[in-house]
């Protein structure tokens, strides 16, 4: 057990640090990169990294990466630090879509798109959930029908992050409703500006619009944009989902330091809030979970560096982070007492940072697998407990009863 860098790792760290110091954007002020107005800056930073060989460093060189080790990836992200938040807009493309294309796409698709995802030139989204199929993803109803060398897509997706600025998307569709639900699915990718695609932003509880509804009306795409075999869509989607839990769980800051500092300056009943025993206990609770996640990730990276595959253990990260971010934000508003209701940025404590988390965490606990689905995954795949009873498993999809009929 050794937390110190090996000589090679130290060398890599020094190179990364020097490059970042020389090239980092100077006008960056805590822009999250997820805001549309931050996209230009995100793209510029991504392109700069790509040109110098620092983008998606764990990908193979032929697709724009540098074949870096898992440990080097951790070192890079440590060195990039909070600047890494500028990459938020690329998480879906780089974290989920590109791994799916690399695993299941044609060689032409890989050559054409993966380097552009790495360089930030293309932003991708993931068109999975539907109004009637969230956690029960395989219950989806968006159809794709073969006509000659083309597929015609009709239906609706929902909760599609970033669809309003995405260039491309991967989409899972039903191509055969007469077989059991997991068997009749097929995955494609498409240009989000194709005729027949309509994107409607959804206003969330926070008042922001990060997610969208996406409608398909006779959208035509060539068969060459299929990912995996016809009817193999479920298997392909598992690649995306496994990568999603890795990407989403690791993509959020813990905000412990901001929280800690705030409790020192906000007054409690007898001095700063941090002197209140109940506040100290809540700080400790959050700290041990944040540290636990970081140390769990270190264990995972050590396992990966020994050639072991990432397991369903990655589900821990999103599960713990989602629940705890929500509770942490609520506590931080409690500490402000009555003033905590104010979310207006120019008046709110810390520019309303904790108010944003208070609302954003709601989605965090749902997107990419709800807390309940993640617990099922841990129970079934890590602990080996029996799968849930699925009464529709062997029925042809078009015979499955729905609330509507």
């Amino acid at each position: 057990m050794d937390f110190n860098d090996t000589p090679q790792e130290a060398d890599f760290r020094a190179q990364a640090r020097a490059w970042i110091a020389a090239n980092r954007p100077t006008d960056w002020q805590n822009k999250t990169g997820r805001d549309v107005d931050g996209i230009a800056m995100s793209k510029a930073w991504q392109k700069k990294k790509y040109d110098a060989g620092w983008a998606c460093i764990h990908w193979p060189q032929e697709y724009g990466g540098r074949g870096a080790t898992p440990i080097e990836r951790v070192i890079w992200s440590q060195e990039e630090g909070e600047l890494g938040q500028l990459g938020g807009v690329f998480i879906i493309g780089q974290g989920m879509c590109a791994p799916t294309i690399m695993a299941h796409g044609s060689e032409a698709a890989k050559q054409r798109h993966v380097p552009k995802i790495a360089s930030g030139e293309e932003i991708w989204c993931q068109l999975f959930s539907e109004p009637g199929s969230g956690s029960d993803l395989a219950g989806l109803r968006t159809r794709a029908e073969k006509q000659g060398d083309e597929w015609v897509i009709n239906g609706q997706k929902i909760w599609t992050s970033g669809a309003h600025y995405a260039d491309f998307g991967i989409v899972i569709t039903r191509t055969d409703p007469t077989v059991p639900k997991h068997k009749g699915l097929t995955m494609f990718y498409l240009d989000m500006r194709s005729p027949g695609v309509t994107v409607k932003p959804i206003k969330q509880v926070s008042g922001r619009s990060d997610f969208n509804e996406v409608y398909f009306a006779d959208v035509r795409i060539p068969d060459s944009q299929r990912l995996g075999a016809v009817g193999d869509g479920w298997k392909v989607s598992l690649t995306t989902l496994m990568n999603e839990r890795l990407a989403v769980g690791g993509g959020f800051p813990t905000n412990f330091e901001e929280m800690f500092e705030l409790t020192k300056v906000i007054e409690g009943e007898d001095g700063p809030a941090i002197e209140d025993q109940s506040v100290r206990e809540k700080l400790a609770d959050w700290y041990i979970r944040a540290a636990g996640l970081r140390n769990t990730q270190n264990r995972m990276m050590s396992a990966l560096s020994r050639g072991q595959a990432p397991g369903p253990e990655a589900s821990i990260s999103k599960l713990v982070l989602g629940i705890n971010r929500q509770n942490m934000a609520s506590t931080m508003l409690d500490i402000q007492d009555t003033y905590g209701v104010i979310s207006q940025k120019d008046l709110a404590v810390n520019g309303g940072q904790f108010h944003e988390i208070f609302f954003r965490a709601v989605a965090h606990r749902i997107e990419g697998g709800t807390d309940e689905i993640l617990r099922n995954i841990i129970a079934e795949r890590v602990l080996g407990l029996p799968g849930d009873i699925r009464v529709d498993k062997d029925l042809p999809f078009n015979n499955i009863p729905t609330g509507a009929n």
């Binding site: 057990m1 979970r289 617990r375």
Partner: protein
């Protein structure tokens, strides 16, 4: 960076598990629980023969000098087995205090005996309900003689030597406390076993009436030394707690797989699956934090104080969660004396208190973070 135990350490863990499976079955633990013996003497002897007592004691003092990572691995397995022996008192507390603050002569005198299993050690702090602070310590030393009552002292009734915190200064602050080594079998010491939540770990009321007291460390340095002992012991106890959490989780899983209700194994109900998933998550976070603590302990890193408190808090919470929910998964059977669930429920509570309670460790963690940020 490498955040895993080495192959040799994993091998040691397997050996420890195998040894304890054969020598420390639940039946053996119950022999101590149900009987009048304060600990399991044959297991104690076996553990000494395996060299575990001296795993982290340097070779010059008769130990194996393997290191703290090895001791952590052993601690996890002792926790898993709910071992009914005075290991933690002797090794994490008594021997560590001597290692940290002892003179060369004291180390030569005590540590080889610890290594070979010839003596049992203890640490005597608490004198009543509530937080153990310099203010609450009334036991005092005058003219080299120690007087006062310590309650409870883990393994106080079986210890040959105890490190005792006593008042030597007039004030109420940390500087008024010093440590002493007391020969528990000499005159002026009476120890009386007391009932506790976990009879597999013995506790006593120890009265000192002019007992001989040998200073350990400089006068007025008692609290500072205890701070160091506590940091190291917190990591080692955390491994015991992680081992216990893992065992309780596995016990719950195995029972849920075999127990049928409504025509299905109860492990197929989401309410049970989700409970087990939460137990797993708590255990893994505690394990990861304990690994970090093990690294900090083994390298004596400046982060040790924070890493130890982090490991302590998360492992205490994990063991509490797993030991109580294990009973819940077992339903009514879990509440019977006959089933083994309560062995972990008992041990979990004792481990969460012996080194200071959870709220106190949370406070300690935040204090350490404040100190770090101020520096």
């Amino acid at each position: 960076m490498n955040f895993e135990f080495s192959d040799d350490q994993k091998l040691l863990k397997e050996q420890a598990r195998g040894f304890l499976a054969s020598k420390c079955s639940a039946k053996e633990v119950r022999r101590i629980l149900d009987g009048n013996e304060p600990y399991h003497p044959e297991l104690w002897k076996g553990v000494a023969e395996m060299g575990w007592l001296g795993a982290s004691i340097p070779e010059e003092y008769g130990g194996l000098g393997l290191g703290y990572l090895e001791l952590c691995v052993i601690a996890e397995e002792l926790g898993r087995a709910v071992a009914p022996i005075p290991f933690s008192s002797t090794v994490y507390l008594f021997a560590e205090a001597v290692l940290i603050a002892g003179t060369e002569e004291q180390k030569q005198k005590y540590l080889p005996k610890v290594s070979e299993g010839a003596i049992i050690g203890a640490l005597a702090l608490s004198e009543g309900a509530g937080a153990v602070t310099p203010k609450t310590i009334k036991t005092s030393v005058a003219g080299g003689r120690l007087t006062g009552v310590k309650l409870p002292v883990t393994d106080g009734d079986v210890a040959d030597y105890a490190v005792v915190a006593a008042r030597t200064g007039a004030g109420n602050d940390e500087g008024s406390i010093s440590l002493f080594i007391v020969d528990m079998k000499a005159g002026g010491v009476t120890a009386e076993a007391v009932d506790t939540v976990d009879p597999t770990r013995s506790h006593a009321k120890v009265s000192f009436d002019g007992a001989g007291a040998e200073p350990l460390g400089a006068a007025g340095q008692g609290w500072a030394i205890l701070d160091k002992v506590f940091d190291r012991a917190a990591v080692l106890y955390a491994f015991e707690q992680v081992g216990g959490s893992q065992a309780a989780l596995e016990m719950a899983r195995d029972y849920a797989m075999g127990r049928y209700a409504f025509g299905r194994p109860i492990a197929s109900f989401q309410a049970i699956k989700h409970k087990l998933a939460d137990m797993y998550v708590a255990t893994e976070l505690a394990r990861s934090n304990s690994y970090y603590g093990a690294w900090a302990l083994s390298t004596d890193a400046p982060e040790l104080a924070i890493a130890a408190a982090t490991a302590r808090v998360s492992a205490t919470e994990a063991y509490h969660e797993c030991s109580k929910e294990n009973i819940q998964v077992h339903g009514g059977m879990g509440f019977t004396w006959e089933f083994d669930c309560h062995l972990h429920y008992r041990r979990s509570k004792v481990l969460s208190l012996v080194l200071g309670s959870l709220p106190r460790w949370k406070d300690r963690l935040i204090s350490r973070l404040e100190e770090r940020n101020a520096a």
